[in-house]
């Protein structure tokens, strides 16, 4: 159809060259799209081919070591799980509460607007700046030292804006008829939110939470900045314990020139990616199951 219309305007030659240019442009578009996909494929292939051989039960259950072949990921794995659990315990209640306020009570006046702009801006602050905040505030200011608690608090501040934003999305998806029905039955505002809105929004909230926490699990820079250690041959035993996490362990191994440590780093990356995969798969499964229940 394009040719027919264009033919009446220009000559056949220019029409042909315009069609050719369109075809070339399409190919460029397709190639660009493939670039991202190929890069992802190469990255995964590279990590798997470097690290799969090193992955073993011994690797999972050993502490790190000066000798690459003896080193394992245990302390970092336990550290990551510990830190992320504590991060969730701090960030989830605060974030959900803030989102409920902004979405269900908010929209009144300048302060709400200021809070909203502020949260959007916080989501764009580089993660290493949160590390400096954690260093100045938690590690030195409050004297927490380089502990699990300091690390989790720092990560909690980092994910808080993301938790708030995703929870608001989930709350916004709840139809207002549900709220109106509840009010019509005489429920108060909070009873409506607690008994109707939150349960209905729960699958969405949960997905958002898990996605924000998987971002926190992969974070290296803020924890390096607060001074989390790179050589920790023991698992953390409490919130005041020094700690390391998977990405920092990987970073420490990448930084060593020997090829055997690079293999460890690749295996560590596989453990990290595996953990992320499990988290995301859980999020998707839970969401599907819960959605079926609420409908």
């Amino acid at each position: 159809m394009t040719t027919a219309v264009a033919g009446t305007v220009g000559t056949t030659v220019t029409t042909r060259s315009r069609t050719a240019r369109d075809w070339l442009f399409t190919s460029f578009g397709l190639l660009s799209t493939l670039l991202g996909l190929v890069a992802l494929g190469t990255l995964l292939y590279d990590v798997v081919s470097d690290g799969a051989g090193r992955l073993s039960w011994q690797f999972m259950t050993s502490y790190t070591s000066r000798r690459a072949a003896d080193a394992g990921i245990y302390a970092a794995l336990v550290g990551s799980l510990f830190v992320i659990t504590l991060t969730a315990a701090i960030a989830v209640p605060l974030g959900v509460a803030a989102a409920v306020h902004l979405e269900e009570y908010g929209g009144r006046g300048r302060l709400s607007r200021l809070i909203e702009i502020n949260i959007a801006n916080l989501a764009g602050v580089p993660s290493i700046i949160y590390g400096l905040l954690g260093l100045g505030l938690f590690v030195r200011g409050m004297g927490m030292g380089q502990s699990v608690l300091a690390g989790a608090s720092t990560l909690a501040l980092l994910v808080l804006p993301v938790v708030i934003l995703s929870t608001r999305e989930a709350l916004r998806a709840v139809p207002s008829s549900l709220r109106e029905g509840s009010y019509a039955l005489g429920a108060t505002k909070w009873q409506t939110i607690w008994n109707q809105v939150l349960p209905a929004a729960f699958p969405g909230i949960l997905t958002g939470l898990i996605l924000s926490l998987s971002r926190a699990i992969g974070e290296t820079a803020p924890l390096v900045t607060i001074g989390a250690l790179t050589y920790v041959p023991f698992a953390p035993d409490g919130i005041w314990s020094p700690f390391t996490v998977l990405p920092i362990q990987v970073f420490a191994w990448v930084s060593r020139p020997q090829a055997s440590f690079a293999e460890n780093a690749a295996a560590g990356i596989l453990v990290l990616l595996g953990l992320l995969l499990i988290l995301n798969a859980t999020a998707i499964t839970l969401r599907d199951r819960l959605q079926r229940h609420t409908r």
Partner: protein
């Protein structure tokens, strides 16, 4: 009656508590600004602001200390610039392809896969840049050092690509269909419609995405800390080791620098500069997007 009053009290208390959580987010910003300002002020008492901003030698960890931040700034700009050379053309072409050309099945499969790229931890990209991309590039680029700005720049571009493509595609797709149909009716090919009608109509949304991408690149840490080296030098040569602002903060944090020293304070001064630049870029991006919103709703 008392039960009802109790209910009202509970309602009030809960609302206040929720409000405090929301208002608490302002305290985070306040905390960031306070911590950065406090240490930067202490730093500037010892180093004049002009020496810091315009000095060309950065050696705070050496015996002969110089505090000129320019080498870190050029390192950051160099790595981010290379990242933009990858992320902007590829991201925009991807966005145009997915929004204007691809069948919806392709779009629905490709978009989430591309977004996986954004979910990969940055330390993984650092590993990839240092141990895969750099060796491959060394075969192509003569004189490429083991640590350089080129490789982490390219990898950072790949990491940022989904941000550019996703946000730009949203902008392109929110352009009303009537504009496309009008262009086709006038005999435009799909490329002409995309480039001359849809792209300009979505321009502010797309430029907002690009500005956000720059801000993300400047603040990115682990890729450059791992693969760009830790040698602050004033150069635009992408083949030699450089150091970015973020990589410097990591370098100092890895050592055991005691609080209160000038070395310790440098990371907050550098952090302040980083915070201000990304903050300005983010505000600019928001402003662009707000303008865009007014056009079509």
């Amino acid at each position: 009656m008392t039960r009802r009053r109790l209910r009202l009290v509970v309602e009030f208390v809960i609302e206040r508590a929720l409000f405090l959580s929301a208002a608490g987010s302002i305290l985070i910003t306040a905390g960031i600004i306070f911590v950065l300002l406090f240490e930067t002020a202490a730093f500037l008492r010892e180093v004049p602001l002009a020496d810091f901003l315009f000095g060309t030698v950065w050696t705070p960890l050496f015996f002969d200390k110089h505090f000129g931040v320019l080498p870190l700034v050029t390192g950051t700009l160099l790595a981010s610039g290379i990242a933009m050379l990858v992320a902007l053309p590829a991201g925009l072409m991807t966005a145009i392809y997915l929004s204007e050309y691809a069948p919806s099945v392709v779009r629905r499969t490709v978009k989430p896969i591309l977004e996986l790229l954004a979910g990969v931890p940055t330390v993984v990209y650092g590993y990839f840049a240092l141990l895969f991309v750099t060796p491959k590039l060394q075969a192509l680029v003569p004189g490429l050092s083991g640590f350089n700005a080129l490789s982490p720049g390219i990898v950072m571009g790949i990491m940022i690509l989904p941000l550019v493509s996703s946000l730009s595609e949203d902008a392109l797709r929110s352009v009303p269909n009537g504009l496309r149909e009008g262009a086709y009716a006038l005999g435009a090919t799909r490329m002409e419609a995309a480039l001359r009608v849809v792209f300009p109509a979505a321009f502010s949304g797309i430029s907002a995405a690009c500005v956000l991408a720059v801000s993300r690149a400047i603040g990115e840490t682990m890729i450059v800390a791992i693969a760009a080296g830790q040698q602050p030098r004033l150069t635009l040569d992408p083949r030699v080791p450089v150091e970015t602002m973020t990589a410097y903060i990591v370098q100092v944090s890895l050592g055991d620098t005691p609080g209160g020293t000038i070395e310790y304070r440098t990371i907050f001064a550098v952090g302040m500069l980083l915070f201000v630049s990304t903050f300005v870029l983010n505000l600019f991006s928001n402003w662009l997007r707000e303008r865009f919103r007014e056009e079509y709703s």
